[in-house]
Symmetry: C2
Subunit: 465 residues, 2 copies
């Protein structure tokens, strides 16, 4: 299945960057997990939890980041630092399921724990870019957009906005830039906004100068990383935190260049927020866009296919000891859907070679043939249902098998094996109008001496790809 192939390809990339597979359990005591969940406003919101027989609360993990932070807080001393790991597995959200919203889905994360260098962020970004390519996305169809939380904080400090609740409201307003445009965001930054339905959302109530500063900032993206950095240095207002964010972004840019990540694949975009509130520095989001239509002709929209950032304070929520960390996460099914929309992934995996079985007394012969093919590394099965020839060929077709192997009394007497090239059969069935010709001449069918049948099948399998 496509998910498995994607995970294999991405794992290879991540391991090439020196990340090792490391997973924690999917199901933990809730007190070890729940209150440290991403959104500090709503602990346990969206979490599936239950009481065990000892009445202790247990929870299904909500993501792969909080359990990692909990593990590092508990066992960090026994880990090499920096600790570079990747992991994939199911996570659960206690929400109403809907289109594209599942209660259980497969997530894949990479994290570096114990390095506060911006180069660690750059590496994670580079891995994401290379991972998507390995998963089959065309490079022109996606880009990582990178921002730093410290920049907006610097803008706000310079503009005199220091109240944490106001800053949170600003973050939420900025997050709506895509949907509401600059005017809508300006309203949400100021007095508030009434939507078409007449519903009123209270604003962050920062002053007009601060509103202008924030709007200048979030629209500072330019055509290259360098040009955006130049523009940002003009609009962040010169606070220490803003300067720190700029310096970090600049070092990320240098490292990305040395890692060979092009301007069009990883760009600086100050409008990127990321919903989760535990990020402390760099944040990044992977955007995917492609002209594609779904099975029913509907336009396929994508957008974010992954994201991440630096979360230097998350481990400290468990131990009080600050441990810098950065990571990236994507949903595997969503990536598979994106790859399929880009036409990058074969819709289905090829099936095995099928040894047709018609005569129960020849079962041993069938297994012998299958064994020889398997020994040559060619996936093979003996058909083990109870149907006749036509149904068996249909079965091989449904499995997208490259070849079928046929042996009956005639073949055994002659010391031969009949092999059907099923791809050629499919092709010819489409193009040959006169079905009789196709049946009579049996295109794509060869009879090979028993001693040469493995080589013959291999040729067909390799041509099928």
């Amino acid at each position: 299945m496509a998910e498995r192939r994607i995970l294999d390809a991405v794992s290879r990339v991540y391991e090439t960057y020196g990340f090792e597979p490391f997973d924690t359990g999917a199901f933990e005591y809730a007190d070890a997990l729940g209150k440290f969940l991403p959104d500090a406003d709503r602990p346990n919101e969206g979490v599936f939890a239950l009481q065990d027989d000892d009445e202790q609360w247990m929870a299904l993990r909500y993501d792969l980041t909080a359990p990692l932070a909990r593990f590092v807080a508990e066992h960090g001393d026994s880990l090499p630092k920096p600790f570079r790991r990747y992991a994939y597995g199911p996570v659960w959200r206690n929400e109403k399921p809907g289109p594209g919203r599942y209660r259980e889905f497969l997530q894949c994360d990479a994290d570096t724990v114990g390095s506060d260098r911006p180069e660690a962020d750059a590496e994670i970004i580079a891995m994401a870019v290379e991972g998507y390519a390995a998963a089959g996305l065309p490079r022109s169809a996606y880009a990582l957009k990178i921002n730093n939380r410290k920049l907006l904080n610097g803008v706000l400090t310079a503009a005199g906005v220091t109240d944490p609740l106001q800053k949170l409201a600003v973050l939420r307003a900025v997050d709506k830039l895509d949907r509401l445009g600059p005017e809508g965001v300006a309203a949400l930054l100021g007095a508030g906004r009434k939507d078409e339905s007449g519903a009123f959302t209270p604003g962050a109530r920062i002053g007009p100068a601060a509103v202008d500063a924030v709007l200048d900032f979030v629209q500072a993206a330019r055509g290259s990383r360098g040009a955006t950095l130049d523009r940002l240095s003009n609009v962040i207002g010169g606070s220490p935190e803003g300067d720190e964010g700029l310096e970090e972004l600049s070092r990320i840019g240098e490292a990305l260049a040395r890692l060979g990540i092009g301007e069009d694949q990883a760009l600086f975009d100050p409008s990127i927020v990321r919903g989760l509130e535990y990020y402390t520095g760099a944040v990044f989001e992977a955007d995917f866009s492609v002209d594609a239509v779904g099975e029913r002709g509907e336009a396929l929209r994508f957008g974010s296919i992954g994201g991440g950032g630096r979360y230097d304070d998350l481990v400290a929520r468990f131990t009080g000891q600050r441990t810098p960390a950065t990571g990236f996460s994507f949903g595997v099914s969503r990536l598979a859907a994106a790859a399929a929309a880009a036409g990058a992934v074969a819709a289905r995996a090829r099936g095995p070679v099928v040894v047709i079985s018609l005569d129960p007394t020849l079962m041993g012969e069938y297994f012998g043939l299958a064994g020889e093919l398997r020994a040559a590394g060619i996936p093979t099965e003996v058909y083990l249902g109870a149907s006749g020839m036509r149904a068996q060929m249909k079965y091989a077709d449904r499995r997208l098998s490259p070849a079928a192997v046929i042996v009956g009394g005639d073949e055994i007497a002659a010391g031969t094996v009949t092999i059907k090239d099923l791809d050629m059969g499919r092709l010819l069935a489409q193009s040959v109008a006169d079905n009789r010709v196709w049946r009579d001449e049996r295109p794509g069918q060869v009879t090979a001496p028993r001693s040469e049948f493995v080589a013959q099948v291999r040729r067909i399998v390799e041509a099928a790809g």
Copy 2:
């Protein structure tokens, strides 16, 4: 980690047999799952379940078999038949955790749905044998023991035992042969048994002739599959069901021979029961034994490292429509422990090549070197912590890295790269008594021209294996 390598190796074997990866969700509505759980006596016993916001009960899967049966019952018409799949993922048991007993563990299953041929059982058995070998178990250390439920049923029918509860009690008594020996089992088959503590277990209360017949049957294993079949034909008493079981076992034996599975790796053993009650025909259990001691010198006992069988009635519990099926399942951590006990698995995976980073102004250079190595397919990381040389070398050592790459001002001026062969360093550190020699002569350290450093590192990495 060892689990991942095992799953990769086993997946390759299973795919060679024409099985495709196919998993269902880990978390389902309990009414779709709970009442169909393995042990019909105790539905929902051992299952973690919770109510969602709509007060519907949801359950964490207990194994991978019941969810497959549920899926086939619901979507079977859209699947090619026979449907051959394998899957791995976490399963959960609501039990008190203990040594070797976990609430969450990784299971790996292979199943063929829609074939009632004994050859389908034989294939599953052959895959298990080959899968264990691919996972690194020495072939001499394990064997599949195979039985058929129909045989004991035949013995009981021939002996006049027809009451289902009595038959269940017989199954449970036979399952204790290993622990209690023939006398203990005879007591449990008859009037009952008092153990050393004085506690009394009521017996199955079958007659003396039936007790003898059962004991003859469970002790019918002989040195080869053929000899055991011969012996069995003498003791099963000639009932139709017994004859059917014998015929199935005989065909499994023929197929195993054609699949190249030796007598010592897959043997017939009528004492194998398997605890689960949904099996309808062939049952098999993988036994592992090795002389090994644990970390604290304790003797390591193993025993069953996997099992399976034919469950022709399980799908019908959901739909009423009989769908024959057979499968095999093992716990991944347990197999990893067995492989480690057999000395078959390197304790830890090799780490990446580490580019030592001492001078922040050279970070770009470090990334450039790492990029070249990665492009050559060599896993590499730039050290991104904040420590000095000694700690960085120690880090590379903890990651079991094959090599460290060092570049400073001198190397850049000379156009060279210094490479440390860390395996050689470890070896020499052990063997060279005079530490000064080791320090001064820097064994295992070479300086290569920049243009040749990738080739040089590759030589070291390949030698490290």
